[in-house]
């Protein structure tokens, strides 16, 4: 008995550990994305997101003003200023050549080029003194190794949603996804009830047809459908993409819901019929509430799929600002802003935020609905 219990608990451990590993596997990058999206652009280049809470040490190059800004103080020519130009930071060390940018600790006075002396204080103030007059319009280069405190900001979000056009794209995606989820559910629920519980000739054939449609790749229909849309005057419009998504989603929706509804106890439906309910009332009052897990799980599927879809949107929607969806916008940002991590991280997080919320809000239905549909 002890043995059996022992083995079982070990197995549970294995399961739990693998679940934990999987969770970490996707939670880690997601969290990194979240942190990165709030960081300052310069700090992203200086250190990884896991160091976001610590001051970042980075080497800055500052070019001092040219000879024109020199001031004559009792025969000594002085150029002064602040290497941070008003920004925050703290100088740890400084140098005068690129080869050794951290040669001297802050506060020290060291000889620089052309017989000048350079002092850089911890707060970034520097003072360049020389007995002779400075020459040249380009000032001297000063290298400082500075320690900047961590800085978190909403600027990235503001920028991405506004200037980079992701806010508008977000609304466009919503405009696509919500009707493209609701319409197929409405249609499929009725169809599934009929296919599951109403006797009519050819029913089995229809079910077989739906199963057959499940395996048809949607790429097959893209061009003919677009041609049809153009011919009947829909063109590239939201109505067009709603219809397209509805069509592509319906086979799975009908199949999933029918299988779930077939599994509901026959007696419940018969009992309602004896109690005087019509087919429509049975559907509305009995079947629909009982099928909620299946409806919810399909809704999640369809929503995530339409939310993440790029292909269908590219075909059935235009490229203009009021039709470009978020995936399309993201793709353009990748091209034009490939190196700007703060933009990309923020965009990515804006994109996954809604699916995450949807998933966490309805995940219990997702699992239950999937199981209920197949295993019963």
């Amino acid at each position: 008995m002890d043995n059996i219990v022992g083995t079982k608990s070990r197995l549970v451990w294995v399961v739990n550990l693998s679940a934990l590993a999987l969770v970490l596997l996707w939670l880690f990058p997601t969290f990194g994305l979240l942190v990165s999206s709030f960081r300052d652009r310069d700090q992203i280049t200086a250190s990884g997101w896991w160091k976001a809470m610590f001051p970042a040490e980075q080497t800055l190059q500052y070019r001092a003003p040219g000879a024109g800004d020199a001031v004559d103080e009792n025969g000594v020519f002085v150029i002064s200023g602040n290497v941070f130009e008003g920004g925050r930071g703290s100088v740890k060390s400084f140098g005068t050549s690129a080869r050794d940018p951290g040669a001297f600790p802050a506060g020290e006075t060291v000889p620089a080029d052309d017989g000048a002396d350079l002092t850089v204080l911890q707060n970034g103030d520097f003072r360049l003194t020389s007995a002779t007059e400075f020459e040249g319009r380009r000032g001297m280069r000063i290298f400082v190794t500075s320690v900047t405190p961590p800085r978190f900001t909403f600027e990235n979000y503001g920028r991405v949603l506004g200037a980079e056009g992701l806010g508008r794209a977000f609304l466009n995606t919503m405009t696509v996804s919500i009707p493209a989820t609701v319409i197929p559910i409405l249609v499929a629920a009725f169809a599934a009830y009929a296919l599951a519980w109403m006797e009519f000739p050819g029913r089995a054939l229809l079910v077989a047809g739906v199963v057959g449609l499940l395996v048809v790749p949607l790429q097959l229909a893209l061009i003919p459908l677009l041609k049809l849309h153009n011919e009947i005057g829909l063109g590239k419009s939201y109505l067009g993409i709603w219809l397209a998504h509805t069509g592509f989603g319906l086979p799975l929706a009908v199949y999933l819901l029918r299988n779930y509804m077939v599994g509901l106890p026959r007696e419940i439906i018969e009992s309602a019929r004896v109690d005087g309910a019509t087919d429509f009332q049975i559907f509305l009052k009995i079947i629909l509430p009982l099928s909620f897990p299946a409806l919810a799980s399909f809704a999640i599927f369809q929503f995530l799929w339409t939310w993440n879809d790029l292909l269908v949107a590219l075909v059935f929607l235009g490229n203009t600002q009021d039709q470009l969806v978020m995936t399309g916008q993201l793709k353009e940002l990748m091209g034009s802003r490939g190196g700007d991590w703060e933009i990309l991280a923020t965009s990515a997080f804006v994109t996954i935020a809604v699916p995450l919320v949807v998933f966490f809000a309805m995940q219990k239905y997702l699992v239950r609905g999937l199981l209920a549909g197949s295993v019963k």
């Binding site: 106890p265 007696e267 419940i268 018969e270 009992s271 004896v274 005087g276 509430p289 009982l290």
Partner: protein
């Protein structure tokens, strides 16, 4: 309240005929139980009366109206199902009120009736709960409540007690019987359990393979089974059936045993094969062998193989002396008798307790 008349009812699934022309007249207020082994067509008959199955042939009348083409809701019936079939997403109150949904009654009157029904079935404390929070017996009471709230002409029960445990089953059985006495409505009740059938029914309809075997009151079918099937099906333990033949002088000779006198055998041609039926309760077990008091009726010698004490009495399984113990006979004996496996005993039965069946057709031979 109404009568139910079934005329030549036939059910076919494609080619296969599962119900071969059933005739049944049910009086107003009668409690009729359809009983039989699984697959005998009893549930199909009930579902055809309810309108849940199409009628392939014949007629069903409720009152004096042919209902063949009517939808279930137009037949004014209520049905209680084996697995309750209550709506899991509605409260008990909603469940009971579902049947009243379409009734043209003021809301207050509906509420009053729902509460009255709940009170009757002792469901009042649970009205706001969901079915998931109730026990099996309570759920079945909800299903019954949903049926009686509509005050239908006929109640149909489809094995409503099968999902309950033994104790609850006996209790609910009693409640259904009381309900019938109180409402006085026509009830058609389907079960495979002959004890339920015997205890509940005004009349029992015994079915097998789509045919009615016998219709009668519980006493009739118990005392005068129409054939060997009914004889075996009704009563527990089953009736003993001993093979034999009619002798030349109009008596009866059991295979491997001596001749006995049986008045009914006189009408049969000598040599015809028969089965002699005798219930366990009618057999007397005498523990001494060879005590052949010359009383008329059955006398069998045998050896005890198993004894099953039941409390007040016990079941004795015997290898009767027919053909060197090939025939097993069950008898009921007083627990005060001490019987052990291996004991030699004599079984006797009074002539009026014996039943005679034709071996070929299984039909009872009139006494």
């Amino acid at each position: 309240m109404a009568t139910v008349t079934i005329r030549n009812l036939v059910k076919r699934y494609r080619e296969a005929e599962v119900l071969h022309g059933i005739n049944l007249d049910i009086a107003d207020g009668e409690f009729v139980v359809l009983v039989g082994p699984s697959g005998c067509g009893k549930s199909t008959t009930l579902r055809m009366i309810a309108g849940l199955e199409d009628i392939s042939g014949g007629e069903v009348l409720i009152g004096d109206r042919v209902v063949n083409q009517l939808e279930p809701k137009e037949r004014n019936i209520a049905m209680v199902f084996q697995n309750y079939a209550i709506y899991p997403h509605m409260t008990i109150y909603k469940n009971i009120s579902f049947g009243l949904r379409t009734a043209r009654l003021p809301a207050a009157e509906k509420d009053r009736r729902i509460r009255a029904v709940a009170e009757q079935l002792e469901l009042t404390p649970y009205l706001d709960r969901k079915p998931g929070q109730l026990s099996g017996g309570q759920r079945q009471r909800v299903a019954i409540g949903r049926a009686i709230i509509r005050d239908p002409a006929v109640f149909l029960f489809d094995e409503p007690l099968s999902n309950l445990d033994a104790q609850l089953r006996a209790q609910t059985r009693l409640e259904i019987k009381k309900l019938h006495q109180r409402l006085g409505s026509t009830i058609i009740f389907v079960t495979h359990d002959q004890v339920e059938a015997m205890t509940l029914a005004d009349r029992i309809v015994i079915m097998r393979d789509g045919h009615i075997q016998q219709i009668g009151t519980p006493t009739e079918v118990y005392d005068h089974p129409a054939n060997t099937f009914v004889a075996r099906f009704i009563g527990s333990p089953s009736m003993n059936l001993l093979p034999g033949a009619v002798t030349a002088d109009g008596g009866l000779a059991l295979d491997g045993n001596g001749p006995i006198a049986h008045p009914a055998a006189r009408g049969l041609a000598p040599g015809s094969r028969v089965l002699l039926g005798v219930r366990a309760d009618d057999l007397r077990v005498q523990s001494h062998t060879g005590a052949t008091d010359k009383a008329p009726g059955l006398q069998l010698s045998g050896r005890v193989s198993v004894v099953e004490p039941l409390g007040p009495d016990m079941l004795v399984y015997l290898d009767a002396g027919l053909d060197a113990g090939t025939q097993q006979v069950i008898a009921k004996a007083d627990t005060r008798q001490t019987l052990r496996p291996g004991d030699e005993v004599t079984l006797t039965a009074a002539p009026e307790t014996l039943h005679l069946f034709d071996e070929q057709s299984g039909k009872a031979v009139a006494v």
